[in-house]
Protein backbone atom coordinates (compact mmCIF):
# COMPACT_ATOMS: atom_id res chain seq x y z
CA UNK A 1 0.00 0.00 0.00
CA UNK A 2 2.89 2.28 0.78
CA UNK A 3 4.09 1.75 -2.76
CA UNK A 4 0.75 2.86 -3.93
CA UNK A 5 1.17 6.20 -2.21
CA UNK A 6 4.58 6.71 -3.69
CA UNK A 7 3.25 5.84 -7.11
CA UNK A 8 0.58 8.48 -6.73
CA UNK A 9 3.21 10.97 -5.65
CA UNK A 10 5.16 10.16 -8.77
CA UNK A 11 2.16 10.83 -10.91
CA UNK A 12 1.61 14.10 -9.12
CA UNK A 13 5.17 15.21 -9.74
CA UNK A 14 5.15 14.20 -13.38
CA UNK A 15 1.83 15.91 -13.89
CA UNK A 16 3.03 19.16 -12.44
CA UNK A 17 6.11 18.83 -14.65
CA UNK A 18 3.85 18.41 -17.65
CA UNK A 19 1.89 21.44 -16.54
CA UNK A 20 5.12 23.37 -16.22
CA UNK A 21 6.21 22.46 -19.74
CA UNK A 22 2.82 23.24 -21.12
CA UNK A 23 2.84 26.70 -19.68
CA UNK A 24 6.52 27.34 -20.29
CA UNK A 25 5.38 29.89 -22.78
CA UNK A 26 7.75 31.73 -25.11
CA UNK A 27 6.57 34.83 -23.31
CA UNK A 28 8.04 33.82 -19.98
CA UNK A 29 11.00 31.99 -21.46
CA UNK A 30 12.27 34.93 -23.49
CA UNK A 31 13.25 37.18 -20.57
CA UNK A 32 14.42 34.22 -18.50
CA UNK A 33 16.83 33.21 -21.27
CA UNK A 34 17.99 36.80 -21.52
CA UNK A 35 18.91 36.84 -17.86
CA UNK A 36 20.71 33.49 -17.97
CA UNK A 37 22.89 34.11 -21.02
CA UNK A 38 25.56 36.32 -19.36
CA UNK A 39 26.08 33.77 -16.61
CA UNK A 40 26.71 31.00 -19.07
CA UNK A 41 29.14 33.19 -21.00
CA UNK A 42 30.98 33.93 -17.78
CA UNK A 43 31.14 30.26 -16.85
CA UNK A 44 32.32 29.38 -20.35
CA UNK A 45 35.10 31.96 -20.11
CA UNK A 46 36.27 30.80 -16.66
CA UNK A 47 36.30 27.12 -17.58
CA UNK A 48 37.82 27.91 -20.95
CA UNK A 49 40.74 29.89 -19.53
CA UNK A 50 41.40 27.28 -16.86
CA UNK A 51 41.13 24.48 -19.39
CA UNK A 52 43.45 26.16 -21.88
CA UNK A 53 45.93 26.87 -19.12
CA UNK A 54 46.05 23.22 -18.17
CA UNK A 55 46.09 22.07 -21.79
CA UNK A 56 49.11 24.12 -22.74
CA UNK A 57 51.05 24.81 -19.58
CA UNK A 58 50.31 22.08 -17.07
CA UNK A 59 49.67 18.89 -19.00
CA UNK A 60 52.96 17.12 -19.77
CA UNK A 61 54.23 16.15 -23.21
CA UNK A 62 52.93 12.75 -24.32
CA UNK A 63 55.49 9.98 -24.52
CA UNK A 64 54.34 8.65 -27.89
CA UNK A 65 52.63 11.55 -29.59
CA UNK A 66 54.79 14.47 -28.45
CA UNK A 67 52.96 17.78 -28.42
CA UNK A 68 50.54 16.62 -31.13
CA UNK A 69 48.31 14.98 -28.58
CA UNK A 70 47.21 18.40 -27.26
CA UNK A 71 44.52 18.34 -29.94
CA UNK A 72 42.71 16.06 -27.53
CA UNK A 73 41.71 19.08 -25.47
CA UNK A 74 39.42 20.34 -28.19
CA UNK A 75 38.74 17.14 -30.07
CA UNK A 76 37.17 15.20 -27.25
CA UNK A 77 34.96 18.01 -25.90
CA UNK A 78 33.74 18.79 -29.41
CA UNK A 79 32.98 15.11 -30.03
CA UNK A 80 31.18 14.71 -26.75
CA UNK A 81 29.13 17.85 -27.25
CA UNK A 82 28.18 16.85 -30.78
CA UNK A 83 26.59 13.70 -29.41
CA UNK A 84 25.18 15.24 -26.26
CA UNK A 85 23.55 18.15 -28.06
CA UNK A 86 21.86 15.69 -30.38
CA UNK A 87 20.38 13.87 -27.42
CA UNK A 88 19.14 17.13 -25.90
CA UNK A 89 17.70 18.17 -29.24
CA UNK A 90 15.88 14.86 -29.55
CA UNK A 91 14.60 15.26 -26.00
CA UNK A 92 13.07 18.64 -26.77
CA UNK A 93 11.68 17.30 -30.01
CA UNK A 94 10.00 14.40 -28.23
CA UNK A 95 8.57 16.76 -25.67
CA UNK A 96 7.19 18.97 -28.40
CA UNK A 97 5.53 16.03 -30.12
CA UNK A 98 4.08 14.62 -26.92
CA UNK A 99 2.86 17.77 -25.20
CA UNK A 100 2.53 20.14 -28.12
CA UNK A 101 4.48 22.86 -26.29
CA UNK A 102 5.67 25.78 -28.33
CA UNK A 103 9.05 26.30 -26.73
CA UNK A 104 10.32 22.77 -27.38
CA UNK A 105 10.33 23.09 -31.14
CA UNK A 106 12.15 26.37 -30.87
CA UNK A 107 14.75 24.83 -28.56
CA UNK A 108 15.37 21.95 -30.94
CA UNK A 109 15.73 24.36 -33.84
CA UNK A 110 18.12 26.54 -31.85
CA UNK A 111 20.33 23.63 -30.85
CA UNK A 112 20.81 22.11 -34.29
CA UNK A 113 23.33 24.61 -35.71
CA UNK A 114 25.46 24.44 -32.57
CA UNK A 115 25.37 20.66 -32.71
CA UNK A 116 26.36 20.74 -36.36
CA UNK A 117 29.21 23.07 -35.48
CA UNK A 118 30.44 20.68 -32.80
CA UNK A 119 30.24 17.74 -35.19
CA UNK A 120 32.16 19.75 -37.79
CA UNK A 121 34.80 20.64 -35.21
CA UNK A 122 35.07 17.02 -34.15
CA UNK A 123 35.64 16.01 -37.76
CA UNK A 124 38.06 18.85 -38.42
CA UNK A 125 40.18 18.39 -35.32
CA UNK A 126 40.06 14.63 -35.79
CA UNK A 127 41.37 15.05 -39.31
CA UNK A 128 44.13 17.36 -38.07
CA UNK A 129 45.02 14.74 -35.53
CA UNK A 130 44.80 11.84 -37.90
CA UNK A 131 47.27 13.30 -40.41
CA UNK A 132 50.26 13.23 -38.02
CA UNK A 133 49.19 10.10 -36.15
CA UNK A 134 47.84 7.82 -38.86
CA UNK A 135 49.36 9.54 -41.86
CA UNK A 136 45.99 10.26 -43.48
CA UNK A 137 43.47 13.07 -43.13
CA UNK A 138 40.62 10.65 -43.39
CA UNK A 139 40.07 6.94 -43.12
CA UNK A 140 36.83 5.04 -43.46
CA UNK A 141 36.80 3.94 -39.89
CA UNK A 142 33.53 3.17 -38.13
CA UNK A 143 33.68 5.95 -35.55
CA UNK A 144 34.74 8.56 -38.06
CA UNK A 145 32.00 7.45 -40.40
CA UNK A 146 29.30 7.48 -37.77
CA UNK A 147 30.40 10.94 -36.67
CA UNK A 148 30.08 12.00 -40.31
CA UNK A 149 26.58 10.54 -40.30
CA UNK A 150 25.81 12.60 -37.23
CA UNK A 151 26.96 15.70 -39.07
CA UNK A 152 24.69 14.78 -41.98
CA UNK A 153 21.81 14.19 -39.60
CA UNK A 154 22.22 17.69 -38.25
CA UNK A 155 22.36 19.07 -41.77
CA UNK A 156 19.33 16.99 -42.73
CA UNK A 157 17.42 18.30 -39.75
CA UNK A 158 18.24 21.89 -40.67
CA UNK A 159 17.53 21.34 -44.36
CA UNK A 160 14.18 19.75 -43.56
CA UNK A 161 13.19 22.63 -41.31
CA UNK A 162 14.35 25.18 -43.85
CA UNK A 163 12.33 23.47 -46.55
CA UNK A 164 9.02 23.77 -44.68
CA UNK A 165 7.59 27.26 -44.23
CA UNK A 166 4.93 26.56 -41.69
CA UNK A 167 6.85 26.53 -38.39
CA UNK A 168 4.39 24.21 -36.71
CA UNK A 169 4.77 21.66 -39.43
CA UNK A 170 8.53 22.17 -39.58
CA UNK A 171 8.79 21.46 -35.86
CA UNK A 172 6.83 18.27 -36.04
CA UNK A 173 8.63 16.92 -39.09
CA UNK A 174 11.99 17.84 -37.58
CA UNK A 175 11.04 16.18 -34.31
CA UNK A 176 10.23 12.89 -36.02
CA UNK A 177 13.55 12.97 -37.86
CA UNK A 178 15.47 13.83 -34.69
CA UNK A 179 13.91 10.93 -32.84
CA UNK A 180 14.63 8.50 -35.65
CA UNK A 181 18.25 9.66 -35.78
CA UNK A 182 18.84 8.97 -32.11
CA UNK A 183 19.83 5.39 -33.01
CA UNK A 184 23.04 6.81 -34.43
CA UNK A 185 24.34 8.01 -31.05
CA UNK A 186 24.94 4.59 -29.50
CA UNK A 187 26.49 3.56 -32.80
CA UNK A 188 29.07 6.36 -32.56
CA UNK A 189 29.69 5.69 -28.94
CA UNK A 190 30.12 1.95 -29.17
CA UNK A 191 31.68 1.85 -32.63
CA UNK A 192 35.15 1.46 -31.16
CA UNK A 193 33.91 -1.60 -29.31
CA UNK A 194 31.91 -3.18 -32.08
CA UNK A 195 34.53 -2.91 -34.79
CA UNK A 196 38.24 -3.12 -34.32
CA UNK A 197 39.19 0.24 -35.65
CA UNK A 198 42.00 2.68 -35.97
CA UNK A 199 40.33 5.16 -33.65
CA UNK A 200 41.18 5.36 -29.97
CA UNK A 201 39.05 3.33 -27.60
CA UNK A 202 37.39 4.88 -24.59
CA UNK A 203 39.84 6.27 -22.11
CA UNK A 204 37.20 7.48 -19.73
CA UNK A 205 35.34 4.59 -18.26
CA UNK A 206 33.01 4.59 -15.33
CA UNK A 207 33.94 1.11 -14.19
CA UNK A 208 37.68 1.22 -14.80
CA UNK A 209 40.26 3.61 -13.46
CA UNK A 210 41.12 6.25 -16.04
CA UNK A 211 44.05 5.20 -18.19
CA UNK A 212 45.20 8.76 -18.65
CA UNK A 213 47.38 11.17 -16.75
CA UNK A 214 45.39 13.02 -14.10
CA UNK A 215 46.26 16.48 -15.44
CA UNK A 216 45.25 15.56 -18.97
CA UNK A 217 41.97 14.30 -17.65
CA UNK A 218 41.38 17.53 -15.78
CA UNK A 219 42.20 19.60 -18.82
CA UNK A 220 39.79 17.62 -20.91
CA UNK A 221 37.01 17.88 -18.35
CA UNK A 222 37.45 21.63 -17.93
CA UNK A 223 37.43 22.17 -21.67
CA UNK A 224 34.36 20.00 -21.95
CA UNK A 225 32.64 22.15 -19.34
CA UNK A 226 33.63 25.27 -21.25
CA UNK A 227 32.22 23.84 -24.49
CA UNK A 228 29.08 22.92 -22.63
CA UNK A 229 28.52 26.39 -21.21
CA UNK A 230 29.32 27.91 -24.59
CA UNK A 231 26.73 25.72 -26.28
CA UNK A 232 24.04 26.69 -23.80
CA UNK A 233 24.83 30.38 -24.17
CA UNK A 234 24.71 30.34 -27.97
CA UNK A 235 21.62 28.18 -28.10
CA UNK A 236 19.81 30.50 -25.73
CA UNK A 237 20.77 33.52 -27.83
CA UNK A 238 19.47 31.78 -30.90
CA UNK A 239 16.29 30.63 -29.25
CA UNK A 240 15.56 34.24 -28.30
CA UNK A 241 15.83 35.25 -31.93
CA UNK A 242 13.60 32.36 -32.97
CA UNK A 243 11.01 33.26 -30.34
CA UNK A 244 10.81 36.80 -31.65
CA UNK A 245 10.66 35.68 -35.27
CA UNK A 246 7.82 33.29 -34.65
CA UNK A 247 5.84 35.35 -32.18
CA UNK A 248 6.27 38.66 -33.91
CA UNK A 249 2.56 39.20 -34.28
CA UNK A 250 1.61 38.61 -30.68
CA UNK A 251 0.92 41.40 -28.26
CA UNK A 252 3.62 40.56 -25.77
CA UNK A 253 6.43 40.81 -28.28
CA UNK A 254 5.48 44.41 -28.92
CA UNK A 255 6.03 45.17 -25.24
CA UNK A 256 9.07 42.93 -24.77
CA UNK A 257 11.36 45.21 -26.72
CA UNK A 258 11.86 47.94 -24.17
Amino acid sequence: MGDHGRFKGCIGVSQSLIQWFRYASPQSFYPLAGRMIPWFWAAAAVFGVAGLWISFFVAPTDAQQGEGYRIIFVHVPASWMSMFIYLVMAFWAALGLALNTRVSGMMAQALAPTGALMAALSLWTGAFWGKPMWGAWWVWDARLTSELILFFLYLGFMALQAAIDDPRRADKAGAILALVGVVNIPIIYFSVKWWNTLHQGSTINLTKAPSMAQTMLWGMLLMALAFWMYSIAVALTRVRAIILERERHTEWVKHALE
Binding site: V74, V234, L257
Partner: protein, 64 residues
Amino acid sequence: MHWNSVGEFFAMGGYALYVWGSFGACVLLMVVEPLLAKRRLNEVRQSLRRERLADELDHQSGTS
Protein backbone atom coordinates in the same frame (compact mmCIF):
# COMPACT_ATOMS: atom_id res chain seq x y z
CA MET B 1 55.75 24.98 -17.18
CA HIS B 2 57.84 23.18 -19.72
CA TRP B 3 58.14 25.75 -22.53
CA ASN B 4 61.53 27.43 -22.74
CA SER B 5 60.57 30.17 -25.16
CA VAL B 6 57.61 31.63 -26.95
CA GLY B 7 58.96 30.27 -30.21
CA GLU B 8 59.06 26.79 -28.80
CA PHE B 9 55.50 27.20 -27.63
CA PHE B 10 54.32 28.15 -31.07
CA ALA B 11 56.32 25.39 -32.71
CA MET B 12 54.48 22.76 -30.62
CA GLY B 13 57.23 20.25 -31.01
CA GLY B 14 56.86 20.22 -34.79
CA TYR B 15 53.08 19.77 -34.65
CA ALA B 16 52.32 23.47 -35.05
CA LEU B 17 50.13 23.09 -38.15
CA TYR B 18 48.02 20.39 -36.57
CA VAL B 19 47.67 21.78 -33.07
CA TRP B 20 47.12 25.37 -34.13
CA GLY B 21 44.99 24.29 -37.04
CA SER B 22 42.67 22.55 -34.62
CA PHE B 23 42.62 25.14 -31.88
CA GLY B 24 42.46 27.93 -34.45
CA ALA B 25 39.43 26.42 -36.17
CA CYS B 26 37.71 26.01 -32.81
CA VAL B 27 38.36 29.57 -31.75
CA LEU B 28 37.38 30.94 -35.14
CA LEU B 29 34.10 29.07 -35.37
CA MET B 30 33.27 29.65 -31.74
CA VAL B 31 33.69 33.36 -32.25
CA VAL B 32 31.77 33.49 -35.51
CA GLU B 33 28.79 31.44 -34.35
CA PRO B 34 27.77 33.65 -31.41
CA LEU B 35 28.18 36.71 -33.59
CA LEU B 36 25.85 35.22 -36.18
CA ALA B 37 23.32 34.29 -33.51
CA LYS B 38 23.52 37.74 -32.01
CA ARG B 39 23.08 39.36 -35.40
CA ARG B 40 20.01 37.26 -36.08
CA LEU B 41 18.53 38.44 -32.79
CA ASN B 42 19.35 42.06 -33.53
CA GLU B 43 17.84 41.83 -36.99
CA VAL B 44 14.51 40.60 -35.66
CA ARG B 45 14.49 43.27 -33.01
CA GLN B 46 15.29 45.92 -35.60
CA SER B 47 12.48 44.85 -37.89
CA LEU B 48 10.08 44.66 -34.96
CA ARG B 49 10.97 48.21 -33.99
CA ARG B 50 10.44 49.36 -37.54
CA GLU B 51 7.06 47.69 -37.59
CA ARG B 52 6.03 49.31 -34.36
CA LEU B 53 7.10 52.69 -35.67
CA ALA B 54 5.04 52.13 -38.79
CA ASP B 55 2.09 51.12 -36.61
CA GLU B 56 2.40 54.30 -34.61
CA LEU B 57 2.60 56.42 -37.74
CA ASP B 58 -0.47 54.67 -39.11
CA HIS B 59 -2.24 55.34 -35.88
CA GLN B 60 -1.36 59.03 -35.85
CA SER B 61 -2.45 59.61 -39.41
CA GLY B 62 -5.57 57.58 -38.71
CA THR B 63 -6.67 59.70 -35.75
CA SER B 64 -5.63 63.11 -37.05
